[in-house]
């Protein structure tokens, strides 16, 4: 992959454009079903479209002839790794096998899972990757990542109410990070802001392993009433198929196959034309039009056009319904009249939806679209048979059983092998690393962790996002979880957190995935919410590498086992494979999202210290656990040993305790402990409102030296402040959660015994300077304009 992504405009789709009209025996003839039957031995470029020889053979077997060019295009995108989950499917079944949950209204398999959050409200949420496009074209890649996940949520019948973004880049000081990161952040903001969705949190992390494969995972959450849930299926013979939203263009052709399902390599052609271009204004109109259409009950089925475009929407709708559908492709409104039928079927042009509408409701449907200035076109209808047929200029170019396209793609049992270097990696324990001995050294390491790109203030990013729009954002970054009110009368609300530590997962993908779940669970719990459901975005290297496949299988099993133990359903998710350049895969990065519910958001618990004179308490048990820690990474550039132990029972006890404390109003602030341990949590709590604390570590077990106490990353812990330490201790004893008194808030420093006194101002300087120094923060300049250039009233 060339650095600037522009070299060699011979795109991966060039071969495709020539298919219908280019050289060869087809000449300028349209490749129809009849022609395919009469020319069974014509060579077809299946490999260029990302299909394997045996997959191509299976398509011929299904159809009893060679596929037409258009059919080949459809199968190639729908059988891509991205759409078919062919490598991951055998593992993901474990999520569906989890015990049934009362909260789950719609499970895996639809566009997004739906959970009951009480009072008749249902919430749907999902996180999805847009990693490959964001590397090739950062702004548009990230923007359309947001657009795609928002349409998934909308498709379920919900009003989207918030977004989050989980971002990972190469080293913060690497030149290419300076190319990719600003564009990604501007793209996430540019799209979400224009759509009117508050961004309520996420992650921003750096590691060399993401240098050639940045991760851009976007989450959207939506809310509806139970009775408003919509499903993607085409039923009712004679019902019309309506395509609405943007016109279809040549952007994003092969996005799911040649881009998302292949490894980047140095020599290949530029893949920029495979990235879609977003128009958030059109998407905003699409949202309002859809919600009005849903409210008037005008559709029987609906599907958004994302990866694989029209191929995906038509085959999935038909496959989930009674099976028959006919489409006249000539009716599809185009941006570019030279597109071939195969390109129209594969285009991933954004901001499009497909609805199934009963004939007597078509007029009303089109009227709503006219009101919102959304283009809507009847392109076909539901038919009695079980075939999906597509005509072009009066000739049949597609005639397939839709299930074979949408739901019966190939399934692989990929070989797996434990990474050869894993034992050596785990044996390299951080115990060998030099540790700070004096108070001054401890202070220096504390500042280094807090000021590291991972630990530093994220305002540079979050100030580019609208957090206020819609007026229901109760908590957002830098609080541990995003909290949104969903009902102004009852004050019911939700909490969300996304977490994905790739270092832990590299050391132990099974445990690491559980740790990520535990962290997201804890973040939701410290806000005072009750954790309810789980989504995930599993970012890994190439499934064709047995070591990556082993990591993936371990991660899925870890997540399924942990969800079973915590009694949480997995409502859906996304798998992003081929995150590798050449032979180098990213650290396995399972990003886990947890949704929680607040019966009354007014009892939410913020993470910062506001008042002096309150007691600072540490909840949970601290052990010496530094494997994969932020300290080892920041101070020593070290990754080795074992990640912290998982204790899900302790997580649950902590979560229950925090919820009880929040309800009883016993707690003024709560902050979870994760990367950077107690040191990072204390710093963030103090930095929020500039209130320090005087602390003693002497109440911790004697075996813990101050360094370990500050930087260990033991799980199931939180720091809270309270004006009623006695009340907290009583409740904690009942809940079985150990409590350690650390000290009292107040003053302008974090003082630890007579060991060190770290002024909050000094901490703030280290914390806030990092990202602006790396990515620039141009000063505001004030100038005037020449007379006459601006009208005056």
């Amino acid at each position: 992959m060339s650095g600037d992504g522009t070299a060699g405009q011979a795109s991966a789709t060039a071969g495709l454009s020539e298919l219908d009209t280019g050289p060869g025996r087809l000449g300028n003839r349209l490749d129809t079903v009849d022609l395919a039957e009469s020319t069974p031995d014509d060579e077809q470029p299946y490999a260029e479209l990302g299909l394997e020889a045996d997959e191509y053979a299976r398509i011929k077997e299904i159809l009893g002839r060679r596929p037409t060019t258009a059919e080949l295009a459809m199968y190639s995108v729908m059988w891509s790794e991205h759409c078919s989950y062919k490598s991951s499917k055998v593992h993901l079944r474990q999520f569906g096998d989890l015990p049934p949950s009362d909260a789950l209204l719609v499970g895996i398999g639809e566009n997004a899972g739906v959970v009951d959050v009480g009072d008749g409200y249902a919430v749907t949420f999902k996180v999805e990757s847009h990693n490959h496009p964001s590397y090739v074209e950062p702004y548009q890649g990230a923007a359309t990542g947001v657009g795609g996940i928002v349409r998934d949520i909308l498709t379920m019948g919900a009003r989207p109410i918030a977004v989050m973004d989980s971002l990972r880049f190469g080293r913060a000081d690497a030149p290419d990070t300076a190319r990719v990161l600003p564009g990604v952040v501007a793209g996430v903001g540019g799209y979400g802001n224009c759509l009117g969705l508050p961004n309520i949190g996420g992650e921003l992390l750096f590691d060399d392993c993401y240098a050639g494969n940045p991760l851009v995972n976007a989450l959207c959450v939506g809310v509806m009433k139970h009775e408003d849930v919509r499903l993607a299926k085409a039923e009712g013979v004679g019902s019309k198929v309506i395509l609405f939203g943007a016109r279809t263009g040549g952007d994003g052709i092969g996005g799911v196959s040649v881009l998302a399902s292949e490894t980047f390599d140095a020599e290949g052609p530029a893949k920029r034309p495979s990235v879609q271009v977003g128009d958030p204004f059109t998407e905003k109109l699409l949202i309002e039009a859809c919600l009005e259409i849903f409210a008037a009950d005008l559709v029987t089925g609906i599907q958004d056009l994302g990866g694989a475009g029209l191929s995906c929407a038509t085959s999935e709708l038909a496959s989930a319904g009674t099976g028959g559908m006919h489409v006249d492709l000539d009716t599809v409104p185009l941006r570019d009249s030279t597109l071939t039928p195969a390109e129209i079927l594969m285009s991933e042009s954004q901001e499009r939806m497909c609805a199934i509408v009963e004939p007597d409701k078509v007029g009303a449907f089109l009227a709503v679209c006219r009101k919102w200035e959304v283009l809507a076109t009847v392109i076909g209808e539901v038919t009695a048979g079980d075939r999906l047929t597509v005509d072009w200029h009066g000739e049949r170019i597609v005639d397939v059983p839709p299930r074979t396209v949408a739901h019966e793609g190939p399934v692989y049992q990929r070989p797996m092998q434990r990474p050869a270097d894993l034992d050596a990696l785990r044996a390299d324990d951080p115990a060998r690393l030099p540790r700070p001995q004096t108070g001054a050294e401890l202070q220096a390491h504390w500042l280094a962790v807090v000021g590291s790109p991972d630990g530093a203030d994220k305002t540079w990013v979050t100030e580019q996002y609208d957090r206020y729009v819609r007026g229901n954002t109760v908590l957002a970054q830098p609080d541990d979880a995003g909290v949104v009110r969903i009902d102004e009368q009852s004050h019911r609300g939700i909490a969300l957190s996304l977490d994905g530590n790739g270092r832990y997962a590299r050391l132990d993908p099974y445990t690491g995935t559980q740790l990520n779940l535990a962290e997201a669970y804890r973040n939701v719990a410290v806000s005072g919410a009750k954790p309810l459901a789980v989504t995930n975005c599993l970012n890994f290297g190439s499934p064709e590498n047995p070591e990556v496949m082993w990591q993936f299988a371990q991660a899925v099993r870890g997540l399924a086992d942990a969800c079973r133990e915590l009694g949480l359903p997995v409502t859906g998710g996304n798998v992003s494979l081929y995150n590798q350049t050449g032979d180098v895969a990213i650290n396995p990065t399972p990003v886990i999202g947890v949704l929680g519910v607040h019966d009354d958001v007014r009892t939410r618990v913020p993470s910062g210290w506001r008042v002096p004179g309150e007691t600072v308490l540490l909840l949970g048990t601290t052990a010496a656990e530094l494997g994969g820690s932020a300290w080892a990474s920041v101070v020593h550039g070290h990754l080795g040993g074992r990640p912290p132990a998982v204790d899900l029972a302790a997580e649950r006890a902590l979560g229950d305790l925090l919820a009880a404390l929040g309800r009883e109003g016993l707690v003024s602030s709560a902050h979870d402990l994760a990367d950077g341990g107690l040191a990072q949590a204390l710093a963030e709590s103090a930095l929020r409102y500039g209130v320090g604390a005087r602390l003693e570590l002497g109440n911790l077990p004697a075996a813990l030296d101050p360094f370990t106490a500050l930087f260990s990353e033991s799980t199931a812990r939180a720091v809270i402040t309270t004006s009623d330490p006695g009340g907290v201790k009583t409740t904690a004893r009942w809940a079985g959660v150990p409590v350690t008194e650390l000290g009292t808030t107040g003053g302008g420093a974090l003082a630890v015994g007579d060991l060190l006194e770290l002024p909050v101002d000094e901490l703030r300087a280290a914390w806030t300077a990092t990202l602006p120094a790396l990515f620039g923060r141009p000063e505001v300049t004030v100038g005037s304009v020449p007379a006459g250039t601006v009208p005056t009233s």
Partner: protein, 223 residues
């Protein structure tokens, strides 16, 4: 008291403006850009957002909406009008307010809690404040840099038509730290920051924004 909130294609903070009207004690009335119908409202809010995607120039297309002709006519007869962010841009494009809003000087969208100084507490939308009072409300925009020619700025200052100034840092490069201005009669006000996002302790950095909406309710009664 009926306070209209106009929805243009791409308006985003219309629900927020309606909530602010309601919490202040008024009746929010939603108005549709394409209708020539002001529904007998006593005042109008043009909310924030990205009308028409900010294509062409921010606010330029919305300023030509059918309903805007009615707003301009009624404003000239003294109806109070508040333009927030994109609404301010629309009012400038419609010629109801002087100056223009251009791309932030640092070229980024910026969202932060902003201190404003109230320079005029005698407009229809600022009676609830004291002159010189400092309030905290969110600012969030990519094209919020207020510009006008120096001579025009001098004239605006001379006529006392600067209603709000940024304090503690200018977030977008606006000339003379101007955050909001008013028309000649003090009844049409436009500003980039968002008072409708500072009306509840639960969701805003303060409740300082509520005064805009209580002000206009009193102004309409006394008019």
């Amino acid at each position: 008291m009926r306070i209209g909130v106009i929805t243009f294609p791409g308006s985003l903070d219309d629900v927020d403006a309606a909530r602010a009207v309601r919490l202040a004690g008024g009746d929010p009335i939603s108005l549709w850009h394409a209708d020539h119908d002001l529904k007998d409202v006593d005042a109008v809010v043009l909310p924030g957002g990205f009308s028409y995607g900010d294509y062409l120039r921010a606010g330029a297309i919305a300023a030509r909406a059918p309903l805007m002709q009615d707003v301009v006519d009624r404003a000239k007869q003294g109806m109070p009008v508040l333009g927030i962010c994109n609404g301010f841009q629309v009012l400038c494009e419609a010629g109801l307010l002087p100056g223009a809003l251009t791309r932030n000087s640092h070229l980024h969208f910026r969202n932060r809690d902003q201190v404003l100084q109230v320079e005029r507490a005698d407009t229809s939308w600022t009676h609830a404040y004291e002159t010189g009072q400092r309030i905290v409300i969110p600012v969030k925009n990519g094209e919020g840099r207020y510009v006008a020619a120096d001579a025009d700025l001098d004239r605006l200052e001379g006529e006392g038509r600067v209603v709000f100034r940024y304090v503690g840092g200018n977030p977008n490069g606006s000339s003379r730290d101007i955050a909001g201005v008013t028309g000649a009669d003090g009844r049409v006000v436009g500003l980039m920051p968002h008072p409708e996002h500072a009306i509840e302790d639960l969701t805003g950095p303060s409740t300082d924004g509520l005064g805009f909406f209580t002000s206009v309710l009193k102004a309409v009664v006394s008019a």
